[in-house]
Symmetry: C2
Subunit: 342 residues, 2 copies
């Protein structure tokens, strides 16, 4: 069942039927209702491929996922971000296009998305310092929203980010208030922008209290259980072990916890831990009472909002970028307590 057939059944022209269904004013309300009813009765759905060609819009948003040939790290927060964004797209009748490409072909992927006309815009994930994708997308004229920010970029662009600096600053202050002075940072890879900002917040809080950040208490690695465990283990073996840990993610935090338990330390009593909690649906931080004290910010909400920003940008193009900074909550859980060796 297509437009032409539906039109002929109704004794109308395709023009009128199309307009009736799309809510144009120049059609009699009585006929509009007749058309609507017939469309429902015959289970008519306009062919998306034809709409796309005719309107020149793709009605789709792209997400390019680079897969590293060596590391093969698929970001664990990715699934939740996508779920959030996907809800927004569904609500607005947009499709979500995932493009999984080897990381050395990422630029080509964006270019092809644009020149083949598959999408109306893209979301940029995991920005790095001086991320080249921003200039690229500017160049080729593909609307985009960055999830995060890219330090060093001078071009204006739209982004949605969590205030990672302030979150880690507050978390560090919270630990300092509890009397901790040897606070370790188990950070993500520091070519990622958010990791840089988190370190800045951590160092700022320490410095403000006259504590010089100690390189031995700072690590930067992938946010896996293994890496979290490794980092914590190393630091716990120091002559002057830390009395508190700040950890980049829930999963890293589980590795840290394992190291603590191996060392016979009880979390929250002997030693304090604060993690960043992306509020992943499959990795909840406890049920009623949070296991970890955490800086929390839902990555799923971020997905929802970033998608909304992008759709808005597509509908209302203009040179003015949209920017939105979300604050993380500081959730008090069972993993922090006063420093024992005052």
């Amino acid at each position: 069942m297509n437009l032409k057939e539906l039109a002929s059944r109704l004794g109308l022209s395709p023009t009128t039927v199309s307009r009736a269904l799309n809510g144009y004013p120049e059609v009699n309300e009585a006929t509009r209702e007749r058309v609507m009813a017939a469309a429902k009765r015959h289970n008519y759905h306009p062919n998306t491929r034809a709409i796309r060609l005719a309107t020149g819009r793709a009605m789709a948003v792209g997400h390019v996922i680079p897969v590293a040939t060596r590391h093969e790290i698929v970001n664990p927060v990715f699934a939740d971000f996508i779920a959030g964004a996907g809800e927004t797209y569904s609500r607005n009748d947009y499709d979500m296009l995932l493009s999984v490409v080897p990381d050395d072909q990422e630029e080509a992927a964006y270019r092809s998305l644009k020149s083949k006309g598959n999408v109306d815009g893209v979301i940029v994930h995991a920005p790095k310092m001086n991320d080249p994708r921003i200039a690229l997308l500017h160049d080729i004229g593909l609307p985009f929203v960055v999830h995060g920010r890219a330090t060093g970029t001078t071009l204006p662009y739209s982004w949605l980010d969590v205030n990672n600096r302030r979150a880690f600053q507050r978390a560090a202050e919270f630990l300092l208030d509890l009397g901790h002075t040897r606070i370790a940072l188990v950070n993500g890879l520091e070519f990622m922008d958010f990791a840089i900002r988190r370190r800045t917040g951590y160092e700022g809080a320490l410095s403000a209290r006259g504590i010089a950040p100690d390189p031995a208490l700072m690590s930067s690695d992938e946010m896996t259980e293994i890496a979290g465990h490794r980092a914590a283990r190393r630091m716990l073996a120091l002559p002057l072990r830390p009395t508190a840990f700040m950890v980049a993610s829930m999963i890293s935090g589980m590795g840290v916890r394992r190291a603590l338990e191996e060392a016979g330390l009880q979390m929250g009593r002997d030693i304090s831990v604060i993690i960043h909690d992306d509020d992943l649906s499959y990795m909840k931080n406890g049920e009623d009472v949070p296991i970890f004290t955490a800086t929390r910010s839902s990555v799923r909400d971020a997905g929802r909002l970033a998608a909304e920003m992008l759709l808005d940008l597509i509908a209302n193009p203009g040179p003015v970028p949209q920017q939105r900074l979300l604050e993380a909550e500081l959730i008090i859980g069972q993993s922090t307590g006063p420093c024992l060796r005052l």
Copy 2:
């Protein structure tokens, strides 16, 4: 730059240019090369929207992701499966379409995907017992491959699955051989097909050695850290505690490990644990030496293969379903050892 313009620059008809680029035989090799060169030089990429309308093919595959309104569980293995499938699609110039819908609108989502012509086929995730989606997709005539199987379904259909029954049977036998008799099962939700099969394998192995499965030693819940912890904790409090655990996933396993450590038990010495390892890229089971003894099967490979099956099914339609059963490896790690109370 479009076909018509490229053609006029070359002094050829659009027909010939189109054929030259698409490798049709009825075009002079010399002109084909001339066309190819010009296409590259002018950076010509055919407009996907036009191709789709003209050919009637969507050149896209859909994945419908239902989000439960209450539980809000986004399957953690999902990201890796998608990454694998996405590689296959990219290689074959197919798009991957993700449709995130409330779980009570899943049927409508499939119907709409079909009637609007957005995709040529779909992958069905997380099949349940007597899964209604199989009959539905049969009905509406949308090619599909199921990741897993659906017990109780009589219709023939294409699937790719891991031999979950045998994997858990072998794992149980391995524990039995080590002298364990009180073996606990921390399973996933048992309306999921794979969870049912795992339990069958587990029970079969016990029964074959004359051990009656003990309901107190079997739990079925979401595969989260919290749920794993809760189940293990409950079982460890039994008068006759288990000496070994079989656990449905890496994440559940971390919860079990936490319960063991709280009980002062050392994994691999005091008590044994076998998990199922989906080989997630962000959740590796150790580096050189596996932390957990595990039944392992890469969900990413499964994604790659399922996507290949589907593309094949789309290219060569026919009534003969394709089916493929993958075997899981049994990986010996540090979390298992002989039963102490022989």
